[in-house]
């Protein structure tokens, strides 16, 4: 999925940035009873950097099931940063995989470690829930996002050719939190959409479970992550 952190590059180390967030930035966990007010704010924050808005169902898919993995940063009561994630068994196997679906920080607030802090909060919450690993995708040109994740300990596990609708390729980044349980060999993670013809994977199930109408993204290479459709 998309991680919308474009400019500027944070030249400080994540720990420095950690230490000095402006004290007025308040971090909180998403609360479902506040959906009517939070959801529109989250949507507009994330849509700001996307050529195509996500359908409301995409947000609901994540927030209804994994609202506890969604964290917000706000300033003067306005939401200025958000991370949306999920956690579930990876392809029905023993591995519990976290997935960072969306991450956005309002442009004027970037470069202060807010995104790093949000991602860390999401990972910590996943760890509490027993996650074995965390995955995400980012555009190959999105250096700030890759830096952020790589500094936290993620590594690139594979490249996905023309993954986004824009024609851009993606990297899948993975963070192992525990020793892997099963032994499948291969590259170690799901190729989902991309390898379905190779291995006849249960891709379509992914789309149906979600129950939303976003299949149009798949037609041309899907700007949005395949995992979104799980």
């Amino acid at each position: 999925m998309s991680t919308t952190l474009t400019t500027p590059i944070d030249r400080r180390s994540p720990s420095e940035a950690f230490d000095v967030p402006p004290s007025e930035i308040i971090y909180s966990r998403y609360a479902s009873h506040l959906e009517p007010s939070l959801l529109p704010a989250i949507r507009s924050l994330i849509s700001a950097d996307l050529s195509e808005p996500y359908s409301i169902y995409v947000y609901r898919y994540f927030l209804y099931q994994w609202g506890d993995l969604c964290f917000l940063a706000s300033h003067n009561e306005a939401i200025i940063g958000v991370v949306i994630a999920k956690l579930e068994a990876h392809r029905g196997g023993p591995q519990l995989r976290g997935y960072i679906a969306m991450l956005a920080v309002k442009s004027q607030y970037r470069g202060r470690g807010i995104a790093t802090r949000l991602v860390s909060m999401a990972i910590d919450a996943m760890v509490e829930n027993g996650a074995d690993e965390v995955a995400l995708e980012t555009e190959v040109t999105n250096t700030p996002a890759m830096k952020l994740y790589e500094r936290l300990g993620f590594i690139r596990s594979k490249r996905l050719h023309r993954y986004y609708l824009s024609g851009n390729s993606a990297y899948r980044l993975i963070l192992y939190l525990k020793h892997p349980k099963g032994s499948h060999g291969g590259e170690g993670e799901c190729d989902c959409r991309h390898d379905e013809q190779v291995e006849g994977e249960e891709e379509h199930e992914h789309q149906h479970n979600c129950g939303h109408g976003h299949h149009h993204h798949l037609g041309q290479g899907g700007e949005f992550d395949d995992e979104l459709y799980i």
Partner: protein
């Protein structure tokens, strides 16, 4: 309802907005043709037809009534008041558009005929629009020829300046050459070099002429509209027009023609080793060959289980085994299959060889397909196929052992005093498997999957695989030399000599790679020691866990043995930890300086060795280095 998401909300295009029959200057017609070529090339590089060719209002108009015959494909009936000038120009544009649509149609058919991960490299969707599917390309070529004649007849009328006239003519001739090229079927490829005016060559020549006259053209922006998308059968939200600059488009087209000419080389089949070298070199170029070319290459390689139209894939596998291992004559003797007695040695050999070849040919076919894919996918599919090769190796070893009963192979004394056997079939499998393992790691570098702080570790890994392969090549060679001491049929001696030379080449090549990798490994160790490569604390995960993730593709492989974290030089895999340890234990400046000196010396030693080996390779005959099909490419990259 969001217009960003729903093309149905786009306004329809009315005739007032754009009239395909409106009078155009010849400059505008040239401009439109060049715009169309740009959009066609954007499609060739991965954009969808709905963002390129199909949003041309001229093409939209031609295809509006799904024409089944050429006569139906018109910009509606022209009103009688058209001047001769307008009529000729519209005919030129119509013929050009028909040629272009037909080009797209035949290209799409070719691409869909082969194994290709859909919509990744190339967008084959036509949104239920027939790209003149029911019309023979020959008819479209004739239409283009007729229009060229029409242009000639009006040349004397002095309708336009001469350069304009040539520009129009060149574009039609160019389109004709493209269509002739694209509509060649695979059978015709086999006689490509006998064609009097080969289309790809003509196409390149005409590209240059078109480039020169491009400035005469005047683009007509309003001749394209994304609003056409509202009519397309698709659930995709509106997508913007893809603009490829003309210079880039023509550069792409020239490169594509050049690549098409190059792939014909595989038809000069020499041996399996040469085919593999060609595939590796051709597809590892910085600018990956076009999807159409890679698909055509895939089609040329194997059709109906015949390799390059010359050799059945079963025979190809046997040739491949012979080329690398040159097993005992009895093993691959084609007369074995004639044996009638089911319990005879020959029948038993045949049964097992057939089993082996049936498995091997599937894997070889798969490898051909993979080597024609885009690089990220190549790496991922190699990770998957590696397990198949691993299983196959174990099975082939059993078969090798069974076959010894029938070939009466005499053992060779091993280094430890025990007896060893040649294991020819599994040796062949193992060699491929080791190469695949190396490719997976090397592609990790190429695709920038590894970060600079990981380089030392990953060089260490690939060095290990290359070392295993060097040992393996030596093993094959020593068995072959052992067998060579026994009398064998004469034709086999030639094969033995050929294999020995090939093994020497493979060994030097592997050593060159090994030494280059070792030099790079030491260079990166030095860079890390000098703090010239950034490392970060990485609060989540551990070095060991990241190492396991890196090794995941190789985790289930039986040989060579897997690395165990306890035994790997962990400082290569978590350099930041080494720094932390230094900081904790205090820094022994003297030791560090000595270490750096030693690392530098090692790097220098290995780079000198690598150079020496590469120079040796450079002197080898193309027949030995198996680069007969791509000598220039091989020397330039190798």
């Amino acid at each position: 309802m969001d217009p960003k998401m729903d093309s149905g909300l786009m306004p329809a295009i009315s005739e007032e907005q754009f009239n395909v029959l409106a009078s155009r200057s010849p400059e505008e017609i040239i401009g439109v043709m060049d715009q169309l070529l740009s959009s066609e090339m954007a499609w060739h590089t991965g954009s969808s037809l709905s963002q390129t060719v199909l949003i041309s209002l001229y093409i939209d108009s031609l295809l509006e009534n799904s024409p089944h015959v050429l006569e139906q494909a018109v910009f509606r009936s022209p009103p009688p008041e058209l001047s001769q000038h307008d009529e000729v120009l519209l005919s030129v544009l119509r013929a050009y558009c028909l040629g272009l649509v037909k080009c797209c149609g035949v290209v799409n058919t070719r691409i869909k005929s082969q194994y290709l991960p859909e919509e990744e490299d190339f967008s084959t969707s036509t949104y239920n629009i027939s790209l003149l599917d029911s019309i023979n390309p020959r008819d479209v070529c004739e239409e283009l020829e007729k229009t060229l004649q029409l242009l000639e007849t009006v040349a004397d009328a002095g309708l336009w300046r001469e350069n304009i006239h040539s520009a129009l003519k060149d574009r039609l001739s160019h389109r004709l050459a493209m269509l002739q090229g694209f509509s060649l079927d695979l059978e015709q490829y086999h006689s490509y070099k006998d064609i009097a005016s080969p289309p790809w060559e003509s196409c390149i020549k005409l590209c240059t002429q078109i480039e020169e006259s491009h400035n005469l053209g005047k683009p007509v922006e309003e001749a394209f509209s994304t609003n056409v998308q509202r009519k397309l059968a698709s659930t995709v939200p509106p997508r913007p027009k893809v603009d490829m600059p003309f210079a880039e488009a023509i550069g792409n087209l020239k490169r594509m023609c050049q690549e098409m000419m190059e792939i014909m080389k595989v038809l000069e089949y020499v041996s399996p080793g040469n085919i593999v070298t060609f595939l590796l070199r051709f597809n590892s170029r910085k600018q990956q060959p076009f999807t159409y070319v890679r698909v055509s290459l895939q089609a040329l390689l194997v059709q109906n289980w015949v390799v390059v139209g010359k050799i059945p894939i079963k025979e190809y596998v046997i040739e491949d085994v012979k080329e690398l291992c040159c097993p005992l004559p009895k093993l691959l003797d084609s007369r074995n299959s004639a044996a009638e007695h089911p319990l005879s040695a020959e029948s038993n050999i045949t049964k097992r060889i057939n089993w082996f070849v049936d498995r091997a040919m599937q894997l070889i076919l798969g490898l051909f397909q993979k080597l024609c894919m885009n690089r990220p996918r190549l790496r991922r599919t190699l990770c998957h196929t590696l397990l198949e090769w691993d299983t196959f190796q174990a099975e082939a070893e059993e078969v090798d052992a069974e076959l010894r009963e029938y070939t009466k192979e005499e053992p060779m004394a091993g280094v430890d005093g025990g007896e060893t056997f040649s294991y020819p079939l599994s040796s062949w499998v193992f060699h491929y498997k080791l190469r695949i393992m190396e490719w997976i790691v090397l592609l990790g570098f190429e695709l920038e999957i590894y970060q600079p702080y990981e380089f030392a570790g990953m060089y260490w890994v690939v060095q290990h695989y290359i070392s295993s392969r060097i040992l393996h090549i030596d093993r094959i060679r020593s068995h072959l030399l052992h067998q060579a001491t026994k009398p064998v049929p004469e034709e086999w001696t030639a094969q033995q000599q050929d294999t020995l030379a090939y093994l020497t080449y493979l060994s030097i090549e592997a050593k060159a790679q090994h030494d280059l990798v070792a030099a790079l490994l030491n260079t990166h160790r030095l860079l890390l020691a000098m703090d010239l490569i950034k490392t970060h604390p990485q609060p989540y995960g551990t070095g060991e866990l990241r190492f396991m993730l890196r090794m995941k593709p190789f985790k289930s492989i039986q040989v060579p043995e897997n690395f165990d974290w306890e035994s790997v030089p962990w400082e290569y895999f978590q350099p930041q930890k080494e720094k932390e340890a230094d900081a904790e234990n205090g820094v022994d400046e003297e030791r560090i300086a000595a270490d750096k000196q030693e690392t530098l010396e090692e790097a220098t030693y290995y780079i000198t060795e690598a150079r020496r080996h590469y120079e040796l390779l450079n002197k080898m005959r193309a027949s030995v280095s198996r680069s007969l099909l791509c000598e220039e490419m091989y020397k330039n990259v190798g």
